[in-house]
């Protein structure tokens, strides 16, 4: 794989272009598969680097990651077109990378630096780049579900074939706003895709204290499909998301995709996970989404072990460079603290990257390879 350029700019466009789609492989080219691995590895590497920065005292507050859940944000966002919109949550860094956020901006955001996505106004994963079609999350969950419904309402009212996608954990399904959003989406048949990440715990609270019936089963009560997938299988997540996105784009309404996974780190870096039974942790360790996919690429898709290792090594190097850039970013000027409470004018959201080879010809200036190469 000629992954170096693609790694640097967070996409696989250059290499995908050169390769024909696999005749029997369906929707994904070889380059797409490399990209899926690359984005998952990038999320892992960036979060590991962020955790190190936290332990070095360079991250104010705490640190939150999505270790073990990489397949969900990467696989689902990979199905989107540039003009689709997202509300990305705190275990879903991979979706930011797929849409075009670079790790330096993510790490700078964690450190409260001027070059972070929010310029220091908000921290950790509470960001979204409006220029890349993302309205970022707040701490209250699942507040972005109604917001995603609203974006989908705008698409529907204007007759546009566009889709909104958002994420939430199973913990969020206990909150009334979850019901409000599901019901509104169902009643209005909105072009929205809900990604439900059941990572087994809401902070320390296990599934059996969260609900009696798996929340993905509630979808039919709202009048739309609920799909259950292995959240650690990036291609399974992609396939389910792609089908849901297609259904939404065709005017056939929302889908709830329930992804079974496991949060392999604490709720935050301050959480020692003492509530997780060791055997449960051990069992899920065997199902690491990156390891599983790397093995499958070698076993089923003609990748060599060296190629896979090279992708991971290149990602690591890229993330290390990004970390240096983030560390070089200044702290924001204190005067900025009182700026920007009110807007002077509305500004159109920009489009996100859409690295899936299927959309290559449709990518604009914020297309799959951007201009960063």
């Amino acid at each position: 794989m000629r992954g170096d350029v693609a790694v640097a700019n967070g996409s696989a466009r250059a290499s995908a272009k050169a390769e024909a789609r696999e005749p029997s492989g369906g929707l994904l080219t070889r380059a797409d598969r490399a990209a899926l691995l690359r984005f998952m590895a990038m999320m892992r590497a960036a979060e590991e680097r962020g955790l190190t920065l936290y332990r070095q005292g360079k991250v104010p507050g705490s640190f939150y990651d999505g270790c073990g859940q990489e397949a969900i944000s990467v696989g689902s966002s990979f199905a989107l077109r540039p003009e689709d919109r997202m509300c990305i949550l705190h275990r879903d860094l991979g979706a930011h990378f797929v849409r075009g956020v670079t790790p330096d901006r993510y790490l700078a955001n964690y450190m409260g630096r001027a070059d972070g996505v929010t310029g220091g106004k908000d921290g950790n994963m509470h960001f979204g780049d409006p220029q890349l079609g993302c309205v970022g999350m707040v701490s209250m969950l699942p507040d972005m579900a109604p917001v995603a419904c609203g974006m989908a309402m705008a698409f529907k009212i204007r007759g546009e074939k566009r889709v909104a996608m958002t994420y939430f954990g199973e913990g969020s399904t206990a909150n009334g706003q979850w019901h409000e959003a599901m019901n509104l989406a169902g009643v209005q048949r909105l072009p929205v895709v809900f990604m439900l990440e059941n990572n087994q715990f809401a902070y320390s609270t296990p599934n059996e204290l969260e609900f009696v019936v798996d929340p993905v089963e509630r979808a039919h009560a709202y009048g739309f499909p609920g799909v259950d997938v292995d959240g650690n299988d990036v291609e399974a997540v992609f396939a389910a998301a792609n089908e849901a996105v297609g259904r939404a784009r065709a005017g056939d309404g929302p889908t709830l995709i329930g992804c079974r996974t496991m949060r392999m780190h604490g709720h935050g870096a301050h959480d020692d996970m003492s509530y997780v039974p060791p055997e449960m942790f051990e069992e899920w360790s065997q199902r690491d989404p990156i390891d599983v996919y790397a093995k499958r690429l070698v076993a089923d898709h003609g990748f060599s072990a060296d190629e896979v290792d090279q992708i991971k090594a290149e990602v690591k190097e890229y993330v290390a460079d990004c970390a240096e850039r983030a560390l070089a970013s200044p702290m924001p000027e204190p005067e900025r603290a009182t700026e920007g409470v009110f807007a002077d004018a509305w500004q159109k959201l920009g489009n996100g990257d859409a690295p899936w080879s299927r959309w290559q010809s449709e990518n604009g200036s914020h297309g799959a390879n951007g201009a960063s190469a």
Partner: protein
């Protein structure tokens, strides 16, 4: 949703030289909203029972027929979904005008309003041009859940603009400006004024800028700083007392026209702040603090506040009247201030 656009079939009446008949505060809100929907196809209405039914107070009566179900959207009974979806739609280029059936129910949508809508531009540079219409206020035995004046809740949330018209002309003009503003604007429309206030409202284009107070009555002996339902109350009290009292109608609570407040204080040197909302940490407290910080040496008397006491709004008429400021209360307080 089906798009049954009939906007073109209904045009505003032709302009004439004849003075227009006075219209009510309620009719003025409808007119401002209808005008903006005709002018700008990105304006949509979203709320409970606002479609074919025309809204609990009939503000959107006829809108469904004129603009269709795609732009006049009946929502499920879910205030957070209404406000949250409005945020998403606004970020994507629509201008949603949400109706809370009663202002009290903003409590059920408060999270989306204060945590998502209010903070989005500050945190992420995403502007959300949206209006939340809030039928507020008491005086009709609505009880503790259909009578509240929630402005202090809203004013403690940076990122929200808050307006509270007292006349029909301002009800139209402020709503038009609120719709055109790129920020979330809370529009407090006092239910007691809906059909009791009636005045000259300019036909066609009429926008009153947010953040500009109005001198409702010129005077030199004392100033009443008021908004919403307290403005007509102050005007009537001043008339009945026959005193030279100035009445400043704030119109906007955020942004607040501090210059107009201070100018009136410097002119009269005696001030009362009047509002129907409860007392502690209310607009009266803020305005009083502003005056003592900026115009202390211009004062000839302690600043007075005429407000509801810090209690829920009770149901039974004598209890409600004991809580909400009445004309006699205003006259008495004003008399004391003038006599200081």
């Amino acid at each position: 949703m089906t798009t049954t656009e009939t906007a073109a079939s209904r045009q505003p009446p032709a302009q004439t030289d004849e003075p227009r008949e006075d219209i009510t505060y309620l009719e003025a809100i409808s007119e401002g909203l209808r005008d903006e929907m005709r002018r700008d196809e990105t304006v949509i209405c979203f709320g409970e029972d606002i479609g074919a039914f025309g809204g609990a107070f009939k503000v959107t009566d006829g809108f469904y027929e004129e603009f269709g179900a795609a732009r006049v959207i009946d929502a499920p009974l879910a205030e957070n979904a209404i406000i949250g979806a409005a945020v998403g739609a606004a970020a994507e280029g629509l201008k949603p005008v949400c109706e809370m059936q009663f202002a009290d129910f903003i409590a059920c949508g408060f999270d989306q309003l204060v945590n998502v809508a209010a903070k989005l531009h500050y945190r992420q540079g995403v502007a959300v041009p949206m209006v939340v219409r809030l039928p507020s206020g008491g005086g009709f035995s609505g009880g503790p859940f259909h009578s509240q004046n929630p402005e202090a809740w809203l004013l403690q949330s940076p990122g929200l603009k808050v307006v509270a018209p007292a006349t029909a002309a301002d009800a139209k003009g402020l709503l038009v400006s609120a719709i055109r503003d790129p920020n979330p604007v809370c529009f407090l429309e006092h239910k007691g004024l809906y059909r009791n206030v009636r005045d000259q409202v300019p036909e066609g284009e009429h926008a009153v800028p947010l953040g500009k107070a109005r001198i409702a009555r010129e005077g030199s002996e004392a100033s009443v700083i008021a908004y919403g339902s307290s403005v007509p109350l102050a005007l009537r009290a001043a008339e009945e007392l026959g005193e030279d009292v100035e009445v400043v109608d704030l119109r906007s609570l955020c942004p607040l026209d501090t210059e107009a407040i201070l100018a009136s204080v410097r002119k009269t040197s005696k001030v009362m702040v009047a509002h129907e909302a409860t007392r502690s940490c209310g607009v009266g407290a803020e305005v009083s603090a502003l005056i003592s910080e900026e115009a202390f040496e211009d004062l000839d008397a302690p600043i007075r506040r005429l407000t509801a006491p810090d209690v829920p709004i009770p149901f039974s008429p004598p209890l409600e009247q004991a809580v909400l400021p009445q004309l006699d209360d205003m006259k008495e307080a004003l008399g004391e201030l003038l006599g200081y």
